[in-house]
Amino acid sequence: MALLKVVDLKKYFPVQRTFIDRLLAGRVDWIKAVDGVSFSVEKGEIFCVVGESGCGKTTLGKLTIRLVEPSSGKIFFDGIEITKLKSGQMRALRRRMQIIFQDPYASLNPRMKIGDIVGHGLEIHNIARGEQKKKIVLEILEKVGLSPPEQFYDKYPHQLSGGQRQRAAIARALVLNPDYIVADEPTSMLDVSVQAEILNLMLRLKREFGLTYLFITHDLAVASYMADRIAVMYLGKFVELAPKKELLTNPRHPYTKALLSAIPYPDPDHKIGEIPIKGVVPSPVNIPPGCRFHPRCPFADKICMREEPQLIEIAPNHFVACHFAEKVG
C-alpha cells in the first residue's frame, strides 16, 4: 500500500511587490514552485527527487508533511487525507512524518543542548519526560553514531562538527519513531568523506527501523546510490519517473539525458562531451507555455510550444512527460 500519495499538488507563492508596484501593476505574479505533481511512495522505499536548485523539490518535500500549506491538491498519508485535517489532528500525526534539513548549522537551535533538541518531541507528544526521556534519547544518540551518548547529550550545537550535527538532526527525526522521513539534501553541505558516512547511516537506519524516505538531492550520483525510484523535477513538475536502474540506463526525457551527460564523473577516462541543451533555467515566474522545457530542448517541435505533455507510462513503471519520448530513446 502506498504510504504517501500526492495528487495534483500545487504551491504558488505570490511575488513580493512594493505597494506602488501593486497599485500600478494591478495583477499579482506567482512563483509556481510546485505546479501539479502526482506520485505515491510505497512503504519501505527510498523515493528520490532529483533536480537543480529552484526546481521546487525542497518545497515539494515540505508540502508532503504540510510544513508548507499547499495551494491546491491532495495529500494522503497512510490512507488519511491530511490536507483536510485541522492543526490539532495534524499535530498528532506529525509523529509519524519527520524531516531532516540541508543545513546542519541552521537546523539545530543554538540555545538548546543536543539532548533537549533531540528529546523535545518526546515531551511535546507526552511520550516521556525527565529520566525516561533521557534514556530514550541516549539510546537514539548511540544509534546514530554519537558515541559516547552521555557526552553529546549535554553539548551545544556549536561544539559539534557538521557531520555530528547532521547525526543529531537524524536522531531528532528518529526519536518519535516515524514511518516516513523527508531528507532534504541532507549531505550537500557536508564534506565528501562525511557525506559517505551519513548516507550509509541513513541506509542502515532505514533497514533497522523500517523507514520510508523521500530523498531530495541535486546530485544524481547520490540519488543513484540511495534510490529505489528516481523522479526528475524541472520547474515545478516531474519530467521523468522510473526505477533507478531503468532511469540511469534508459533515460527518455531530454532533460534527464542532459543531466546525466553533464555530471562530472570522478574518472579521468570518462570525459563529458557536448551537452545537448542550450540556455538556462527560466524563472519560475515566467514558465514557458506548452512543455516548460521546450526553449532548451533539441527535439522541440510545434506541438511542444502549444501543449503541455502529461506524465505517461511508456514502459513498466517508467513515466515520461514528453511528446517525443519514444523518439528520444
Binding site: L67, R94, Q98, A106, S107, P110, M112, G121, H125, A169
Partner: protein
C-alpha cells in the same frame, strides 16, 4: 608560571582561578570594554548600596561645614549653599537615579520585547497595528516625550518611571521584532514545527532565547540613556526628587544657578559621576555588542 609558596598572593590566586577556567584576562578590545564597564558599574552600585556605611556625613544635614566651601581635605568635594557635605551627597546621590533607570529599563524591556515577539511572530493585522503605534512613539525625541508625560501625570516617582519606560519601549520592540522576523525563517524553527511544537512553545523555547544576547546589549545602552534622561528631567525641575534628597541631578539643578559665581565643585562632581555611570553601562553594552555582532572582519 611562578606561584609564591604558602602565600596566597593575588598573582597566585589569579593563576589558580585561571587554571580552573573561572576567570581569565580579557582578550581583545570588546572584552576589555565589557570588563571595564562592568568594574565601573559594580563600583558605583556598591557605592550606592553601601552609602549609609561609607558616607562620612549625613547628606541631608545642613551646615555640617561652612557654606560654599571649596574642596579641601576635610570636605573632599566641598560643601554647598547650605553647608551640606558634597562628598556624602555624591556617595548617596546615585541611588534614586540608578533605581529609576534600572526599573524603567526593565519595564521597557518587558513590554517592548513581549510585543515585539508577538508582533514579529504572528505578523498580520496585529503587527501592523503595533508597528504604527511604536513608530509614532519612536519618532518623539526622548526627553521631550518624558517631559510631556511627566507634565501630564505629575512629577511623582512612579510617573517618572512610566514616562521614561515609554521612551524605550519602541527601541526594544523594533529590535526584537526584527530579530524574530529573521529567526522565524530559520530551519531550526521549521524543525520545531515538524516535531509538533505549538506557537507558544516555539516562541518561548526556540525564538526568544536567541534574542537574549541582543537584549542584553540594548538593555545596557538603555540604562545609560535612561540615566541621562532622568538627570535631564531633574535638571529642568521635573524630576522625582525634592530637596534635600541627595541626587546628582538635583545637585546639578541647584548648583547650576550659582555656577556663574565660580562654585564649580557643586556641579563638577555630580556631573562627573553621572558621566561615569553612563559610561560604564555604555561600555558594557558596546562590548557585548562587539562580542555578539562583531563588525565584519575580512575572512
Amino acid at each position: 608560571m611562578a606561584t609564591t609558596r604558602n602565600k596566597l598572593s593575588p598573582a597566585s590566586l589569579y593563576e589558580i582561578l585561571k587554571l580552573q577556567h573561572i576567570i581569565r584576562l580579557p582578550r581583545g578590545s570588546e572584552e576589555w570594554y565589557t570588563a571595564i564597564g562592568f568594574i565601573i558599574v559594580m563600583g558605583i552600585l556598591l557605592m550606592s548600596i553601601l552609602a549609609p556605611w561609607i558616607a562620612p556625613h549625613d547628606p541631608t544635614k545642613i551646615y555640617v561645614g561652612p557654606s560654599l566651601h571649596p574642596p579641601s581635605p576635610e570636605y573632599p568635594m566641598g560643601t554647598d549653599l547650605l553647608g551640606m557635605d558634597m562628598f556624602s551627597r555624591v556617595i548617596w546621590g546615585g541611588r534614586i537615579l540608578l533605581l529609576v533607570a534600572l526599573i524603567s529599563a526593565t519595564l521597557s524591556m518587558v513590554v517592548g520585547s513581549f510585543s515585539g515577539l508577538v508582533s514579529g511572530y504572528f505578523g498580520g493585522a496585529v503587527d501592523r497595528l503595533f508597528s504604527i503605534i511604536m513608530d509614532s512613539l519612536y519618532s518623539f525625541p526622548g526627553l521631550i516625550l518624558a517631559i510631556a508625560i511627566t507634565a501630564m501625570l505629575g512629577p511623582s516617582m512612579m510617573n517618572v518611571v512610566i514616562a521614561i519606560s515609554v521612551i524605550y519601549i519602541p527601541t526594544f520592540y523594533r529590535m526584537i521584532r526584527g530579530l524574530v522576523l529573521s529567526i522565524r525563517e530559520e530551519p531550526f524553527v521549521e524543525a520545531a514545527k515538524a516535531i509538533g511544537a505549538g506557537h507558544i512553545t516555539i516562541m518561548l523555547k526556540y525564538i526568544f532565547p536567541n534574542t537574549i544576547p541582543n537584549m542584553a546589549v540594548v538593555f545596557s545602552l538603555c540604562v545609560a540613556d535612561a540615566i541621562l534622561t532622568e538627570a535631564g528631567l531633574t535638571f529642568i525641575g521635573l524630576g522625582p526628587v525634592v530637596p534635600p534628597t541627595p541626587d546628582w541631578g538635583l545637585d546639578l539643578y541647584n548648583g547650576w544657578a550659582i555656577l556663574i559665581s565660580g562654585y564649580w565643585w557643586l556641579i563638577f562632581f555630580p556631573g562627573l559621576f553621572i558621566t561615569l555611570t553612563v559610561l560604564g553601562f555604555a561600555l558594557i553594552g558596546e562590548g557585548l555588542n562587539e562580542m555578539y555582532n562583531p563588525l565584519l572582519r575580512e575572512m
